[in-house]
Amino acid sequence: MDFNLVFEVLIALAILIAVICIVQAQKRVIHLKKKGHLNDHDLRLKLEVVKQKNIRLKQKTALNDDINSILLPRFFDTIKQLLSLQKVIFEQSR
């Protein structure tokens, strides 16, 4: 058996396998890039939606804070006025 021939065949096979692996690896890289891009795009869309929602919530919170600063003092003012009315009614009845 010719050792050289066996060796040469082995080298040729190894080169062939390595080349196939390179092609596969390259395919996988392309697939990964595509998938990564899609994932990234998806997440960014989601993030954008959430950010929009966050902005809207912030606006609502601002309006909420604004109305709170008006509503609560006015509510207590109304109660105060009712108490004052109650006092007048008592004084009148006496």
Binding site: A12, K58, I67, L82, L85
Partner: protein
């Protein structure tokens, strides 16, 4: 006297093959000298016999102090032309040419000088010195790749070997020279070399072959009109016929040759021809004529300083005198011939001398001497011919060895081929391994890259997810807070509605006559309603993600409608600039703040300024949206009113939406409030 004892001089060719020189100095003087020298050389070839005139001209050239290269050439030519006149002068100029060539590193001149000195030594039968000079010249010409010069030297070396009876070497060098001349197509020189080869055939006793060659050469000489060559060839043909025992033909050619030589005054050739023709006359037993021709030959040869020729002719004369039984004269010539042949180691002539001496002593009846010279003759003859036999045996041995060597070479070649094949396979394997390594490196790089890409994508994804989660958490928190707030607002709203409803029930259920009480109830009801409206406005804004100009106009109109309830004679007008886009939108916070500012301004106009007309204009100015609220109320003093709660609120809201507000108010003339807001596209 045996025929083998006779020695005939054959014409052989010896020539200079001097190189044409190229003067480097281009000034006029040098050109003149060069032309004069070229002319001299031309003369030299046209009239070879007029040497003394040429020598004078060459000396004149040297006297004019030419360049080194011209001087070397002139010395060389002087050496050449002196060789037939004065050997000492020839040596002097030859050595001068050699010295100057060495000093100026003129390799061509050096080779020529060695060549010329070799020729002079050859002429003096100093074969050893001649060979040494030729070899030195050959070495230089080989280095200079001067093939014609090399061929000339091969011819001359061959002649030395021929003269020392080393015929194998002679034919070897002659063949080498012939090959070069044939390649270069030099007909004249091819004829010269063939003549020398024919002479070697003669030496090897192949007379027919030699004759055929000479006859062929004679035709060539005639074609190229070479008289000197033809003279020599006729001499050689005559000699060949002589050896083939055709005396009549031989005599005819000798006489033809002598005629030509006398006509053209070829002294050297004449000497040879006289000598040879003398030999024939000797054979024809015409002794007096033979002595006459040989004496003429000897005289000429002495004139030419031709040692070989002197020896040969002396031995011829000795033979003649032996036959004439004039032993005293014979002895003189015999010993002259013997001494000369021994001195110059000319084996051929030495043998002739021994043979003739043996004959001489036989006539003198001295057997010891006869035996002695016969023994010497035999010994020399044996040594010459045995060396030839030894050489032939050696040649056969060489041939056998060559066959063996060839076999060995074949084996080695096969081994080398196998090794080369192995080497080529190893190379292929190495290349394969290198390719595999490269491919593996590429694969490794790709896998590494793939992993790196994966990690980068994961990291990016994680970052985005984290940000998403953070914002979502924040959003959830805010939503929770908003829900709590909404619950609170709903509770307060319900309670306020209950209060309003209860007060209205009181007002309409009981006939309240007390004005103070009635007033208080109305105040509480209005205050609570206002609070409820404000809450509703805010809830309206909170339910919208953005507020358009139309929304704003509708809300303001709604507010004015309510305001009109308390001031029925109020004139209210809202104008929106057509240049403003209908798609112009504000965020709910901004829209709410604008609405509140306009609401505050209208409220102030109605409640404090008691205006009867309020005009709200929304305009576009450059990149800004301007809200102008104009009334015809009582106006106010800006310094007095500034501390009020309403103005402070307006200012605060203006700052919140990063806008500018300007108050223009004149007492009893009205108020103008301008809100400028940067237009966001």
């Amino acid at each position: 006297m045996s025929k083998a004892g006779k020695f005939y001089s054959f014409s052989t060719y010896i020539y200079r093959s001097n190189q044409p020189y190229q003067p480097k100095n281009r000034n006029k003087q040098m050109k003149r000298k060069f032309l004069s020298l070229t002319f001299l050389l031309l003369i030299t070839y046209c009239f070879p016999q007029d040497n003394s005139k040429i020598i004078d001209s060459l000396k004149k050239v040297i006297y004019n102090k030419p360049s080194d290269s011209v001087k070397i050439k002139a010395y060389g030519d002087l050496c050449w032309y002196y060789r037939t006149i004065s050997v000492d002068s020839a040596f002097k100029y030859g050595n001068l040419a050699l010295k100057l060539s060495k000093e100026t590193n003129n390799r061509v001149g050096e080779a020529q000088a060695y060549n010329d000195l070799g020729i002079i030594h050859y002429g003096l039968a100093h074969y050893h010195e001649s060979l040494s000079h030729y070899r030195k010249s050959l070495k230089i010409r080989t280095a200079l790749n001067d093939t014609i010069g090399i061929a000339a030297l091969y011819n001359k070396i061959g002649l030395i070997h021929q003269n020392t009876f080393k015929l194998d070497s002679a034919i070897f060098y002659a063949t080498k020279a012939l090959k070069i001349y044939e390649e270069k197509n030099h007909t004249r020189y091819v004829a010269y070399i063939k003549t020398n080869i024919a002479n070697i055939y003669r030496g090897l006793k192949q007379y027919k072959k030699a004759l055929d060659t000479h006859l062929e050469i004679a035709e060539v000489n005639k074609q190229i009109n070479d008289n000197l060559g033809l003279t020599r060839t006729y001499n050689n043909i005559a000699n060949a016929y002589l050896f083939l025992k055709d005396t009549a033909q031989s005599e005819t050619y000798y006489l033809k040759s002598i005629d030509l030589a006398e006509k053209h005054n070829y002294k050297k050739e004449l000497a040879t021809l006289y000598n040879n023709y003398g030999g024939i006359l000797h054979d024809m037993q015409e002794y007096d004529k033979a002595i006459d021709y040989n004496t003429k030959a000897l005289k000429l040869r002495k004139e030419l300083n031709d040692n070989y020729g002197i020896t040969s002719t002396s031995l011829h004369l000795a033979g003649l005198y032996i036959d004439l039984k004039d032993f005293s004269k014979a002895k003189n010539y015999l010993y002259t011939g013997l001494n000369q042949s021994e001195k110059f180691n000319i084996n051929e002539l030495k043998m002739d001398a021994y043979d003739k001496l043996a004959s001489y002593y036989a006539y003198k009846r001295i057997p010891d001497s006869v035996m002695y010279y016969k023994a010497l003759f035999k010994s020399l003859n044996d040594s010459i011919y045995s060396s030839r036999i030894t050489k032939e045996v050696a040649e056969i041995q060489e041939k056998y060895d060559t066959a063996e060597r060839e076999k060995e070479i074949q084996t080695q070649r096969a081994e080398i081929a196998e090794k080369e094949l192995n080497l080529s396979r190893k190379n292929t394997q190495i290349i394969g391994l290198v390719v595999l390594t490269v491919v593996l490196i590429i694969l490794g790089y790709l896998l590494y890259n793939q992993q790196k890409l994966k990690n980068r994508q994961l990291q990016k994804e994680n970052e985005l997810k984290q940000a998403l989660a953070e914002i979502e958490t924040h959003n959830k928190l805010q939503e929770q807070r908003l829900r709590i707030s909404r619950d609170l607002h709903d509770n307060i709203g319900a309670q306020l509605t209950f209060i309003i409803s209860s007060i209205e029930n009181l007002q309409y259920g009981f006939k309240i006559t007390n004005d103070k009480l009635k007033g208080k109830l109305t105040d509480i009801s209005d205050f609570t309603k206002e609070t409820i409206y404000e809450l509703r406005d805010t809830i309206w804004a909170m339910n919208k993600s953005e507020i358009t100009l139309d929304d704003l106009q509708a809300r303001i109109s709604n507010f004015i409608d309510k305001a009109n309830v308390s001031a029925t004679d109020l004139g209210f007008n809202v104008t929106i600039d057509e240049a403003l886009s209908k798609t112009l939108v504000f965020t709910s916070v901004k829209g709410m703040n604008i609405y509140r500012i306009i609401q505050e301004a209208v409220n102030n106009a109605i409640k404090h300024a008691e205006a009867s007309n309020i005009d709200v204009q929304i305009q576009k100015k450059n990149d800004s949206v301007v809200f102008l609220i104009k009334d015809d109320g009582s106006g106010f003093d800006i310094h007095e009113i500034e501390a009020g709660n309403g103005f402070n609120n307006m200012k605060k809201r203006t700052a919140n939406i990063k806008a500018e507000i300007v108050y223009n108010s004149i007492k009893d003339k009205g108020t103008e409030i301008i809100l400028s807001l940067q237009h966001d596209h």
